[in-house]
Symmetry: C2
Subunit: 378 residues, 2 copies
């Protein structure tokens, strides 16, 4: 079996992904040769990066560059992505997977109002993968690093008995006074979200649906592009396969002189994240169904698939949009910012977390976001 | 099947490990509940740790404590451990595994002449594991953190389709002028190692041998302790199952006013690490067979098992001892330091990396250390 080609069949149709025909076994290079091969030509751009790949540790000098202020802080976050749990290589191209694996870490740093600076990448790789696969994966990681100005400074690479494991840890910097935690929301604060919600989830539903179509039409071979139904829905695929971190919003808030009172990125669904903010800030919230930003294509697909788009917007994960609260006095400054939506406000803790429906009825928000430990998901 | 008990059977015999009879499913807590449960009561001791677990990122202030000098640097290293590749739960107790997973990262920081300060821990967990298993694993990680004064500041926890995945990233600090890289060795430098070599490897051979004995004697049940042959060999087990990082040596070198010219920890075997230093320092080396520090128990077991102990000392991994080079003028200062052995010296690059045998014959060193990507190891 030739994963280099086969796993790409379906994804190639979607994304005109490169299909390469050669297969070089990893054992031909060994661990150190593999690392050298994948990391050759990597340049660092952060002034804080002193030594990257090649020794027991990476070395950073956080007295340099943006981090040189006296009250500079170092931020650290980590994400583990496992095949079969977080991604399905039948329709996730490896380059996109690498890009996404890096970006979800950057998103956590921006969600503290910081700037990502360095990552380490650890990979567990089963026999199915060849050097060309890992080149694809790394090209995505490197592209994300270039776009966001982050340095790849180290990692660990190992064989794995089963699927692909990707563990990325990211460092970032921020001035102490700029950092935004989850626990600063207070009564009357405005609740804001960026972009749109539930779109990455609808992208996943679309990929799953078309994967089944492809399988049914042609269980063993390639599926002609015209047999699949992605037209007009490209944006949904992009949101699922190649999310971006909202650096742009962080920059705009800074330019506008706004410091959120609490902030998170939306990785597990709006409801789940809002409940975290309410719990840690000891407050309640009211959000309004008719204020939730929903993408038109996502709504159309939800209709087609008989799904409730509001439920998807509340509980669908992986949008990597920002959720934050702001002092009500920032209202005038918030309004001109593009792609930013005020969806409700913070209330007293005894009111709980409430969704106000289109016709005024109130429902309590529950964390129905995806739980990897649910029996059904394993 | 009840892994909580079953996986412990053999290991319990060895180490009188606690065998617990209850089994609490992870799904009963969910991801956030699980993290809260495992990390409750965690205290931080490093002055640089500002915010640990509970937000999108951990926050460090490296202007505080040891790291407050103007030329302070931040070190970063990461290690990925995968079930079936790096450990076998048939004989590795989870508490020891947690301890080792943390310590191997500390070892990398010490190998740069730094001090480990923070770790993040990411776990991929299959259905076989219950809450009690993870409590054991975490108790080992927490014990290592306590002993080495390192703070556990974050991580990620996820279901896994197959075995256990442990990814740990460690930060540390050092003054710029104290950091020791791999590339500073120069002609005539002394080559030193700590402790003894090949011992962890012989511990692994012993565990494998006795596992087969236990399986043969009693394929389905418990094996009585008296049927196994660990007596007098406890030290070998300890070296394999519960390695320590050589903080003590780093402190003694500092007290003696010695700064090594190049340093690494020995994780993949002496030959492999020496070749790294020679390559990166552009030099050759001569080491002497009769100078290699070998443990008596390890030598006895090698004899029993018909293995060449010198080969084991050169190529056996996981000793986590330090390998370093020193200016020859430091000789007088080196000699009084306990558990430290001068095994050879650095030569011109054209001489290559040479082992001088007991009867004077010379052999070229090869990196025969364990390669996870070898076809046989997968």
């Amino acid at each position: 079996m030739h994963i280099c080609k086969k796993s790409r069949t379906f994804a190639a149709v979607i994304l005109e992904n490169s299909v390469y025909m050669s297969r070089t076994e990893i054992s031909s290079l060994g661990e150190f040769g593999l690392i050298r091969h994948l990391t050759q030509g990597i340049k660092t751009v952060q002034p804080s990066t002193q030594i990257g790949i090649g020794d027991d540790c990476a070395v950073m000098d956080f007295n340099k560059g943006d981090a040189s202020q006296k009250d500079a802080r170092v931020l650290m976050t980590t994400d583990l992505l496992l095949e079969g749990i977080h991604f399905n290589l039948e329709y996730v191209p490896l380059k996109h997977l690498g890009y996404k694996a890096a970006v979800v870490n950057f998103s956590d740093i921006y969600a503290m109002n910081g700037t990502p600076t360095q990552i380490t990448v650890s990979l567990g790789i089963s026999k199915r993968f060849c050097i060309e696969d890992l080149e694809e994966l790394y090209s995505g990681i490197r592209l994300a690093c270039e776009r966001y100005g982050v340095d790849l400074v180290g990692g660990d690479t190992s064989a794995s008995m089963t699927g692909l494991t990707i563990s990325i840890t990211c460092l970032g910097t921020a001035n102490a006074e700029d950092i935004v935690y989850r626990n600063g929301a207070k009564e009357h604060d405005l609740i804001c979200v960026t972009g749109n919600l539930g779109t990455a989830y609808m992208g996943l539903q679309l990929l799953e649906r078309e994967r089944l179509v492809a399988q049914t039409l042609n269980p063993n071979g390639e599926t002609p592009a015209e047999a699949l139904h992605f037209e007009g829905k490209e944006y949904l695929l992009e949101r699922q396969l190649k999310p971006e971190a909202r650096r742009d919003i962080i920059e705009k808030l800074r330019e506008a002189g706004i410091k959120p009172t609490a902030m998170m990125d939306i990785s597990d669904g709006l409801s789940s994240e809002l409940l975290h903010i309410c719990q840690q800030s000891n407050c309640g919230c009211s959000i309004y169904e008719d204020k939730l930003p929903i993408d038109y294509q996502a709504a159309v697909l939800a209709e087609e698939m008989n799904l409730n788009i509001v439920t998807c917007a509340l509980n669908g994960g992986e949008d990597y949009e920002l959720l934050f609260t702001c002092d009500i006095n920032d209202y005038e400054k918030l309004v001109p910012i593009d792609d930013l939506y005020i969806i409700g406000h913070i209330t007293k803790p005894e009111y709980g977390a409430v969704l106000v429906g289109r016709n005024g009825e109130e429902m309590m928000l529950k964390a129905q976001g995806w739980n990897a430990f649910e029996a059904d998901n394993r």
